[in-house]
Every structure is written in structure tokens, then in C-alpha cells.
């Protein structure tokens, strides 16, 4: 367990936790984006540069925008909804659910044979990555491609009908 790994784990987990506690939605979404950057740092540390750059480009670049827009479009940027009084029953239910999820994760982690202490993964040049994708995983790649284009076209159609639907100006 080297020190950089600990730092990266800290950078990823703490913003996520603080994000949940904050009242201001904008602050919490920015902290969420910070934790995504933490995940990218983790990929970097693991030597997978390509995935790290992809993570930064996709998540910190684009998905963050979607999160912020979603927050802006829902009018309350500060959580001002009154919290229900905390009762024992609701606390118990929360603990139970959290414990169950933790159990399942712990089981999966322990059962997989991790070769702890293996030497660092070899530097995989992007060209080999590309060949690997196009030969063995072409079907998966094309499926994702089609899925993304369909969603893009869907968005465009929705936006188009929305503007037409506005109809008479006031």
C-alpha cells in the first residue's frame, strides 16, 4: 500500500462524503466532480493513461455539465425542504440497507484471488489497445457506437419538438 495510493483514495472518498453533507447543491455537485477527478488520478497511478484521459475528458468535461444543468433546472439550489423528525425506525432501516450492501461488496472482494504485490502492469501503447478493441471486441464497440448515436438523435428530436411545442409567443 504505497503512499500515493492512500492519497488518491483520500482525494476520491472525502469529497464524495462531504458532498452528501452540504446544503448547497452547487457546492456538492462540484465536490462530486472533484471525486471523479480522484478516480482519474487512480487510473493514472495504475498506469492506464488512456483510460485516465478518457475519464477526465468524459466525466470532468461533459457529465459534470449535465449534473450542473440538472441542478440549475430544478429551482432549489439550496436544500430548504424541512427534514422529517429522525425516528428510530428510519435510522434502523438506513443501517440495515447500508450493512447489506457492504456485506455483498466485502464478499466479492474477498472471494476474488488478488495477486497482491504483482509487479506494475506493462506500459500498454495505445496502438495495441486499439487493435485489441477492433479485433476481439468489435461487436461491443459497434453496439456502444449505435447506442450513443441513437441517444444523440433522440436528444436532437426532443429539443426540436420542444421548440416547436412552444407555439405562440406570449
Amino acid at each position: 500500500m504505497t503512499i500515493p495510493f492512500l492519497i488518491i483514495a483520500f482525494v476520491t472518498l472525502v469529497p464524495a462524503a462531504v458532498a452528501m453533507a452540504l446544503r448547497n447543491l452547487i457546492h456538492s455537485s462540484l465536490l462530486l466532480i472533484a471525486s471523479w477527478a480522484g478516480i482519474a488520478a487512480f487510473y493514472f497511478w495504475a498506469g492506464a493513461e488512456f483510460v485516465a484521459f478518457a475519464q477526465v475528458l468524459v466525466y470532468v468535461g461533459a457529465v459534470s455539465m449535465i449534473v450542473l444543468f440538472a441542478v440549475l433546472l430544478t429551482r432549489h439550489t439550496r436544500i430548504d425542504a424541512g427534514l422529517a423528525p429522525d425516528s428510530i425506525g428510519r435510522a434502523l432501516a438506513g443501517l440495515l440497507a447500508g450493512g447489506a450492501v457492504f456485506g455483498v461488496l466485502l464478499g466479492a472482494v474477498l472471494s476474488t484471488p488478488l495477486r497482491v504485490g504483482a509487479k506494475a502492469a506493462a506500459q500498454v501503447p495505445v496502438k495495441r489497445l486499439g487493435l485489441e478493441l477492433m479485433n476481439h471486441h468489435t461487436i461491443a464497440l459497434l453496439a456502444i457506437g449505435i447506442l450513443l448515436t441513437v441517444s444523440l438523435l433522440g436528444a436532437v428530436v426532443l429539443a426540436a419538438t420542444d421548440s416547436k411545442g412552444k407555439g405562440a409567443t406570449p
Binding site: 457546492h27 493513461e49 475528458l57 470532468v60 455539465m65 450542473l68 444543468f69 495505445v126 496502438k127
Partner: protein
């Protein structure tokens, strides 16, 4: 500037003037400085030396650029430009710097103080990060990354976040409008920017910068350099890249976020003093980085345009090309009015993105027919040019629609 970890000897043998003293100067400096420190620290010292060099040199270029811009805009507008501070106005950047430092930094009471403070810092950080991969000279590659081009755009993509933070934190109607415009503009121009250099990756076969520059080595017919800009699809991709670069760095026809005539200063309305100077610096750094990228991808990086000019050191060529591109940016700023936000996004989605996609096809055709020779060579060129001009004219007519200079009757 020479912290290249995996220093491949291949680079050395490439150019004829490769071993001239000036070429190896950066390496000599690095070795002498690193030599002073014990072995494990040498890599660290090399990196900090290159970081310090980048920030110093490009900080100086930023200062000089502000003066060159004001002087060139002045000359375009029939006036001399700043010439009161210093002999030819040369001390103007220093004067601006001092003014920015001494100006009071006003933060509106209702502003979101944390975000208001973080926005310029984040924007400048991301725009400086992009300088890590640009090859400034044969031996001046700060960081040798395999997926360098992807790293460049990953670092650039986060600047939208900073502009949104600036707009939102200022709690000012104009800033909010500007933040919305900035997001729309940056996101819709990210696509043509990326799509325009995909054909180059396809032909060069690699994502690393030095690989792309090597692919552009050599000369055709003795004196035309084998740069990508001299291929029809390359020229089209270069034009799309420049337009998208203008939009990404909020420069002239696309400076909607801080449109003076409508939104006063857009998302910069509530900034003053040094934070405003930081925004200014971040915009210029972004512009320099994007021009550096354009040079590497299309103009053969630090390669000399003519064989007998090889003796001039490579970083001098990079500087010359950078200067030409920056002057072109300033020239455009002095000439064109601003686009409206819906025309801007229509230009991106209905004109640049389809053109870039068609350009992919043209580049594919170009690489498949690379085997043709003799008479077929002309056919190949003619076909490629047709595949570039055709969609341009068709989409162009769709875009400009009814806008045509009109004739007037007289009573």
C-alpha cells in the same frame, strides 16, 4: 525543458542539423543542472526545471502578446497604439501588471465567495496543464506521453467548469446569462475541435505528438514539406480546427461570453484587480496552447519548411509559426463583428460537425489511394479536392440561407 524520461536516440539521428550546438543546448543545460543533485532527485529536478521554463517563457510571451495585440489593433485602426510607457510602449505589459496588482479586488457581498475565488485559479490551472505535451523543439518535449493528444483535450475540457463557476458565483444577471452562453458555445465547439484532427490520428497512426511530427517529416518534389496542411483534406481540417480554436478561446467573432455591447463584461463583470488579470492570462494561455496544437498537428511542429533552412534551430521554427498564428488571431479580432448565440451554435452543429465527418471520409479515401502514382496521382488529388469543396458549398448555401447583399430601388 528537457525532462523527457524515455529519451529515445531515434530523435537525434532524424534531422541533419540535429547535432548542431543550438539543438543540443537544452539537453546540455538539463544535464549540467541535474548533475548537481543526487541521482534519485535528478528526474524531479529535470521536471521542475521544465515547468519553471514553460511558465517563465510563456508568461513573457503572454505579456508581449498583450502589447502586440494592442499595437496591431491600433495600426489596423489608423492609430499608433500604446507608445507612452517605455520607448515604443514596451513597458506597457509591466504597467498593466502593476495596475492589475494594485487595483482593489472587489467581491460582491451576495457572491459565493469560495467559488468566486476558485474560478480564475481553476481556469488558469487547466489552461497551463495543456502545455505539458506540446513539443516546442526537437529536444524540447516536456512530457513524452503515448496518448498526448487525448491528454491535451482532456485538460482543455475542464475550462468550461471554471467559466460556469465564475458566472454562477458572481450572482449577477449579466454573468448568469454569460455563463449559459459560454457553456453552450464551449460544448458545441468541442466536437468540431476533436473531430477535425481525427483524420490526422488516422493517417499518422499514433496519438503521441512526436509520432505525428515524424509522420510529417520529409519533402515532396524536393521542396514542398509533407505537412498535413498541404493535403486538401488537411487544409479543410486546419480551417475547421482554427474556427473551433477561436471559439474555444472566446476570441473575436465568438467572444459572446464577455460581449461588451450586450453583457458588459459577461462572466467577468464582478471581477476586478488581479483575478481579472488571471482570467485574461488564462484566455491568452488557452489561445497559445491551441495555436501550439495547430502547429504540431498541421504545420509539422518544429520542422523547417525548406531543406536548406535546417540549420536554424527547431524551437525557432516553432516560435515563428506560433507568431504567425497569433497575428492571424489578432487580425481576425480587428475585422469581424460578433455572431449571435443561436447562429454560433447553428454554425457548429449544422456546418462544422458535418464537414468534419465528411473530411474523415476524404482522409480515408486519401490514405487508401496512397498507392496510386503517375496520372492516377492527379485523379487522386482532383477527387479529394472535389470531396472537400462539394459539401462546403452545399452546407454553406444551407447555412447562409437568405443572407445576400440586397439591391435598392430609388423613388
Amino acid at each position: 525543458m528537457i525532462g523527457a524520461t524515455s529519451f529515445s536516440p531515434l530523435l537525434l539521428a532524424a534531422g541533419a542539423g540535429a547535432d548542431s550546438f543550438l539543438e543540443r543546448l537544452p539537453l546540455v543545460i538539463r544535464d549540467t543542472v541535474a548533475g548537481v543533485f543526487p541521482a534519485p532527485l535528478q528526474w524531479l529536478v529535470g521536471s521542475t526545471l521544465s515547468i519553471v521554463a514553460i511558465v517563465a517563457i510563456f508568461g513573457g510571451i503572454f505579456a508581449g502578446l498583450t502589447l502586440v495585440e494592442r499595437k496591431m489593433l491600433g495600426r489596423i485602426q489608423n492609430r499608433p497604439g500604446p507608445n507612452r510607457t517605455g520607448p515604443m510602449g514596451l513597458l506597457q505589459p509591466i504597467a498593466d501588471g502593476i495596475k492589475a496588482l494594485t487595483k482593489e479586488d472587489i467581491v460582491p457581498r451576495s457572491a459565493d465567495h469560495l467559488l468566486h475565488y476558485l474560478a480564475p485559479v481553476a481556469l488558469l490551472a487547466f489552461s497551463i496543464l495543456t502545455f505539458a505535451v506540446i513539443p516546442f523543439g526537437r529536444n524540447l518535449v516536456p512530457l513524452e506521453l503515448d496518448a498526448a493528444v487525448l491528454y491535451f483535450f482532456a485538460a482543455g475540457a475542464a475550462s468550461e467548469l471554471a467559466i460556469f463557476m465564475a458566472g454562477w458565483a458572481s450572482r449577477n444577471k449579466f454573468s448568469l446569462l454569460a455563463a449559459m452562453r459560454a457553456l453552450a458555445q464551449l460544448i458545441s465547439y468541442e466536437l468540431p475541435l476533436l473531430l477535425s484532427f481525427v483524420p490526422i490520428i488516422m493517417l499518422a497512426g499514433t496519438l503521441s505528438m512526436t509520432g505525428i511530427i515524424d509522420a510529417q517529416a520529409g519533402w515532396q518534389l524536393g521542396f514542398i514539406p509533407r505537412w498535413y496542411i498541404f493535403t486538401p483534406w488537411g487544409f479543410a481540417a486546419f480551417v475547421i480546427f482554427l474556427i473551433a480554436a477561436l471559439a474555444e478561446s472566446n476570441r473575436s467573432p465568438f467572444d459572446l461570453p464577455e460581449a461588451e455591447s450586450e453583457l458588459i463584461a459577461g462572466h467577468l463583470t464582478e471581477y476586478s484587480g488581479f483575478k481579472y488579470a488571471l482570467f485574461f492570462m488564462a484566455e491568452y494561455f488557452g489561445m497559445i496552447a491551441l495555436s501550439g496544437m495547430a502547429i504540431t498537428l498541421f504545420l509539422g511542429g518544429w520542422r523547417a519548411p525548406l531543406p536548406f533552412l535546417e540549420f536554424i534551430p527547431s524551437y525557432a521554427w516553432f516560435g515563428a509559426k506560433l507568431l504567425v498564428l497569433l497575428l492571424f488571431f489578432i487580425w481576425i479580432r480587428g475585422t469581424f463583428p460578433r455572431l449571435r448565440i443561436d447562429q454560433l451554435t447553428r454554425l457548429a452543429w449544422k456546418f462544422l460537425v458535418p464537414l468534419a465527418l465528411v473530411n474523415l471520409g476524404t482522409a480515408a479515401f486519401w490514405s487508401l489511394t496512397s498507392g496510386w502514382s503517375g496520372a492516377l496521382q492527379l485523379v487522386r488529388w482532383a477527387l479529394t479536392i472535389a470531396m472537400v469543396i462539394g459539401p462546403f458549398v452545399l452546407l454553406g448555401r444551407g447555412l447562409s440561407g437568405t443572407h445576400r447583399p440586397r439591391t435598392y430601388r430609388y423613388a
